[in-house]
């Protein structure tokens, strides 16, 4: 297709998304943002941010899974994610230590959700062990389940699973890769960006 035709399609797609939003026809809006830990995909429902994905997860696969779990009416639309994009920019620029966003936790349930809801209690610049999180959530023996809850966190960065480490201080795992986890932790250790 010619560049002009691609431009025409892009404009038509944008108008379609606006009209669809006005008629309440969108289940999930999404957009991509650039960040120091690579490109991120942000997705939102009418209730709030439902998913943050790292490029390593394969964005098309994430869209497929959102279509299956939330609804097939998934469209690219930036506006509902502007606030999240801006707060993430501020976070990466050392100008923000916490997020003020509506989150939609519908992709998690049970103990995983409990753990994920408890994660923001670990403050910016601090870390906790998987074992400590198991204790905080009232199930001291559930260390492995805490690991699973962190590994399946649908809202990484916003819900700070990167602040959970092994008891010996080693990194454990991370959905976005260990480099991303290391980058987030060192960002938070250096609040003035020096």
């Amino acid at each position: 297709m010619s560049e002009l035709a691609m431009h025409e399609i892009d404009r038509l797609k944008e108008n379609l998304a606006e009209r669809a939003a006005a008629e309440g026809l969108i289940d999930v809006s999404y957009r991509l943002v650039d960040s120091p830990v690579g490109q991120l995909m942000l997705a939102a429902t009418g209730r709030g941010i439902v998913r943050v994905a790292f490029a390593a997860e394969d964005f098309d696969a994430v869209l497929d899974s959102l279509a299956e779990k939330v609804g097939v009416r998934v469209l690219h639309r930036a506006a509902p994610l502007d606030a999240a994009a801006m707060q993430l920019d501020e976070y990466f620029a050392h100008a923000r230590t916490g997020f003020e966003l509506n989150l939609d936790h519908r992709l998690s349930s049970g103990y995983r959700l409990e753990v994920q809801l408890a994660l923001p209690r670990i403050e910016y610049g601090h870390t906790a062990s998987y074992k400590a999180m198991a204790a905080v959530t009232g199930r001291p023996a559930a260390v492995r389940a805490v690991g699973t809850a962190c590994a399946t966190n649908p809202l990484p960065i916003l819900v700070p699973c990167h602040r959970v480490l092994r008891s010996d201080g080693s990194l454990g795992g991370y959905l976005g890769g260990l480099d991303a986890k290391r980058a987030l932790l060192s960002l938070e250790q250096d609040p003035f960006g020096n």
């Binding site: 399609i9 038509l12 379609l16 008629e23 098309d60 998934v74």
Partner: protein
């Protein structure tokens, strides 16, 4: 790439449907309507109607055939809005001819380019008759002239297309 006939639990995200079929639907609307606002409106109405109905579409359905059906209807709506002519009902399925059925036409980007080399009259008569399914008797309501002259224009256009696309007369 998705395979037809593979059983899926849900249909793909609508964004992928627009990405995959948006350009071809625009080519179809542009070939049938005036390029510009009319074709763009028909494109938008097609995908908005598709989006409304999408959650009810059977998983694994042939999305392309479904979109062509919707786009046909929107192109007909657009033509009728500009040419209010009494027509009994929506034309039924387009009458396919060999190598020129709606599916082949839709898929074949070369054919869309070839259509662009025909006269506007030839292109429109062929689109209205073969793709939208209007009988020749109803097409003068949109384009003027007589059914016989339009039939001749379509025949000339088809002959040029066959030559351009190297489709044998016998097939």
């Amino acid at each position: 790439m998705r395979l037809h006939g593979v059983k899926m639990k849900t249909n793909p995200p609508f964004e992928l449907v627009v990405r995959e079929h948006g350009p071809a639907v625009l080519r179809m609307c542009t070939a049938l309507l005036r390029p510009g606002p009319d074709a763009q409106d028909a494109w938008s109405e097609t995908f908005l109607a598709a989006l409304r109905a999408y959650p009810g579409l059977e998983p694994g359905a042939n999305v392309q055939a479904w979109l062509i059906t919707i786009a046909r209807r929107k192109a007909i709506d657009s033509l009728r809005a500009r040419h209010p002519v009494p027509v009994d009902s929506l034309p039924e399925q387009a009458a396919p001819i060999d190598g020129f059925g709606p599916d082949g036409l839709f898929e074949n980007a070369g054919l869309w380019d070839a259509l662009g080399t025909l006269t506007e009259l030839q292109r429109k008569v062929i689109g209205y008759h073969y793709l939208l399914g209007f009988p020749y008797a109803e097409i003068p309501g949109f384009l003027g002239g007589s059914a016989a002259s339009l039939r001749r224009a379509a025949a000339d256009g088809i002959k040029s297309l066959r030559k351009l696309l190297d489709v044998s007369e016998e097939s």
